[in-house]
């Protein structure tokens, strides 16, 4: 007997998308000059037209943010700032379904993830940071830490609204004002967030959103009125930003790429490890900077794990992101799909063995079946370069030290996973792994209270938790007080 799940699409009636959007500057929407289309990557349907921000738009946004900082936001007590953040958090919860559907339409990720993961975490970030707003003096950061002023924030397309929350919530809680640029392909939820700011009666200019492409981002980075840059995106762009601000006094946090190692020891809980492997690389179509994209298996259980992984992968439901039963949605853009295909072709050419389950992929939109490469070695490019798609490279090891050596042998250092039922082994491995986030017997779990960030080329600084606050605060001598 077969148990086919009938389509169970979430209704898109709850969202109303305007045909054209401007920038959100000083509390209101202002028309842009040039526009570019934003599409639904699952269908290639044009959803709306987004303004391409230029230097003058960024100027206006920075001026508004500076004014708001000087005139209102820096004069409010932490308690008052916290009230706004709580209000935003509550509105986000009330409008969660609307945000989830819009995010799925614009990004291509499954509604199950936007509904159960992205949007609840967004609200959680605002709630968490609302609580910090009036406690900064007691956070162990020294006497009266001070805001920097205007934060320029540039966010990626993989978790559009969640990355906005990671940036905006701590900036506002610590008393900074914001000029934010969403990613070119995923601006819609940021623009809906602008409506939430209006609904929460956030003072004008505290949050400004300028949409656009890389040139808009560069205008923000290079603007003299910006005191702090917060960027999440590729290592290449991160390096450009680091160079651009090298001779300035701008502070920066950079959350960049990764090639996370997911290490499975022979005493791992096998079924849950297989789930963790799937969640590590196929969550969000693998568009996750901390994805567990390198599976490092102890040789003695490698065959068993790969066999079970293949069975499990054949259960992954690829298709309409709005269908509540979809596990793997669309690749966010044609450009990204091309990159995934290119790197996978390199995997074939280098002699790794490719496997994917049978998938009926739609002709319209951008799709890539969940894929694993076995027989991968450190020397393969697919073991070194970030693919940022649903593609897993599988390596093996024989001794624990070999696992650690392979895991650390990468220019990145963002995340790692350890699977073992043995506590002492988990502690030993986590002490030796060079990664900012290490999960034990789970993967891709996020919490606003937990700092997130990388070693080496994975970035500078931490976001979330108490550590994340320091990125937005002058402490000690920096504050100018004695």
């Amino acid at each position: 007997m077969t148990f086919e799940y009938a389509p169970a699409p979430e209704s898109r009636a709850i969202v109303s998308i305007k045909p054209k959007y401007g920038h959100f500057i000083n509390g209101s929407f202002v028309a842009g000059k040039k526009h570019f289309p934003t599409i639904n990557p699952a269908t290639e349907e044009i959803l709306s037209h987004i303004s391409l921000g230029g230097a003058s738009d960024v100027d206006k946004a920075v001026a508004a943010a500076q004014k708001a900082y000087t005139k209102t936001w820096s004069k409010l007590s932490g308690k008052e700032r916290g009230k706004y953040l709580y209000r935003i958090a509550r509105i986000l919860q009330e409008r969660a379904r609307e945000f989830a559907v819009l995010e799925t339409l614009d990004n291509g990720k499954p509604i199950r993830e936007t509904r159960d993961i992205d949007i609840p975490l967004v609200a959680a970030h605002f709630f968490y940071h609302a609580g910090w707003a009036d406690k900064l003096d007691y956070a162990g950061l020294g006497h009266s830490p001070k805001a920097y002023g205007v934060a320029g924030q540039i966010i990626p397309w993989n978790f559009p609204l969640l990355m906005l929350a990671w940036k905006v919530a701590p900036a506002l809680a610590t008393g900074n004002t914001v000029v934010l640029k969403p990613a070119e392909t995923t601006s819609l939820t940021a623009l809906l967030f602008a409506e939430v700011c209006q609904q929460a009666e956030l003072p004008d200019g505290v949050v400004n959103i300028v949409t656009g492409d890389g040139s808009t981002g560069a205008a923000i980075v290079n603007h003299p009125g910006i005191h702090k840059i917060a960027f999440t995106g590729s290592t290449d762009v991160g390096k450009k930003i680091a160079r651009a601000i090298a001779s300035t006094d701008k502070k920066a946090t950079l959350e960049l790429g990764g090639k996370g190692a997911n290490i499975v020891f022979d005493d791992a809980p096998v079924d849950e490890a297989v789930e963790g492997i799937v969640n590590g690389i196929f969550f969000n179509q693998g568009h996750v900077c901390c994805a567990g994209s390198r599976l490092i298996l102890q040789e003695s259980i490698a065959d068993e794990i790969i066999e079970k992984l293949k069975v499990r992968m054949s259960k992954i439901r690829v298709g309409d992101p709005l269908d509540k039963n979809t596990d793997l949605g669309a690749i966010n853009s044609k450009e990204q799909l091309v990159k995934i295909k290119e790197l996978s072709a390199i995997g074939d050419a280098e002699g790794a063995e490719r496997w994917s389950p049978q998938c009926n992929l739609s002709d319209k939109g951008f799709w890539f079946a969940p894929t694993i490469f076995t027989g991968v070695t450190q020397a393969h490019r697919i073991a070194q370069e970030e693919i940022f798609g649903p593609v897993l490279s599988v390596l093996t090891f024989r001794t624990p030290q070999e696992a650690i050596d392979k895991a650390n042998n990468t220019p990145f250092g963002l995340s790692a996973g350890i699977w073992s039922e043995k506590g002492s082994r988990i502690f030993w491995a986590s002490q030796h792994l060079k990664a900012g986030v290490i999960w034990a017997n789970t993967f891709n779990k996020f919490d606003p209270a937990s700092p997130f960030g990388g070693y080496k080329e994975s970035g500078w600084g931490r976001e979330g938790g108490k550590h994340g606050l320091t990125a937005y605060l002058k402490t000690g001598k920096e504050t100018g007080s004695k």
Partner: protein
Amino acid sequence: MSFYGLVDGSEKSLVDFLNQLSGVDQVGAESRAAMLATRSIKTTSKKWAIETAISMVDLTTLEGADTPGKVRALCSKAVRPDPTDPTVPSVGAICVYNDMVEVARTHLDAIGGKHVPVAAVSTAFPSGRASMEVKIRDTQDAINAGAAEIDMVIDRGAFLAGKYGLVFDEIVKIREVCGEKAHLKVIFETGELVTYDNVRKASYLAMLAGADFIKTSTGKVAPAATPPVVLVMLEAVRDFYTLTQRRIGVKPAGGIRTTKDAIKQLVLVNETAGPDWLTPQLFRIGASALLNDLLMQRMKMSDGYYASPNYVTID
């Protein structure tokens, strides 16, 4: 004796086998079960799921106050769950105490229900606290009275004390008593085994000893058939099939009262053991109240509105 060539029946071989099983990570198992519970089953697939679930119900009454009249009424319902609609399938089985087996069998045969088997709870159900002689006699009684399925309980005290050989031997002996006449379902009482590691070990222990089905609970102890427990058991039968090429059935029992609960169980089966298990031969749901909810949801799907509970019979 050889049990699938995997153990020789000695305490040592059992301990060795059970100790090499992978552990279950509690958080991971629970989150997988919770994720599968979010599957949205609508329209045609919901109708299919409801009818499949009806055919899998082990319609149960296990009360001290059971009467022959109540058992006969239950039998009528088992054969034709919805008297107004002959397209509704019969349930998987009737599940009663020993002394009601004959009443049930006779009545089922009399009303055209020869295809509905009678399952008897056995081996000093629900506690399992009796001598082996009594348990064997108990089982024989049930089979003599016409039971085609025996739902035995394991000795949880022995299992928790690590006396796996004892638990194993009891199952083997009851399996012998059942012979060709009856299918054997082994009840773990997972609410007393507590950990998922124990559930996995008990699953293999029972399968190696010759169980045809592994069953979560008696229905007398809560928690019973929680989704993660059923998930772990479904993983066990799936992996046991890989090892032995034999498919063992799974029966969650206790706490499954609504159509939603039942559909969640079918999703667990579909995405864990696989579609091969989506048959009453390999998956049963031990329940009493569930059947009425399934019938009401089925009516709602055809009529478009919820009927009063008075449109289904209370027993």
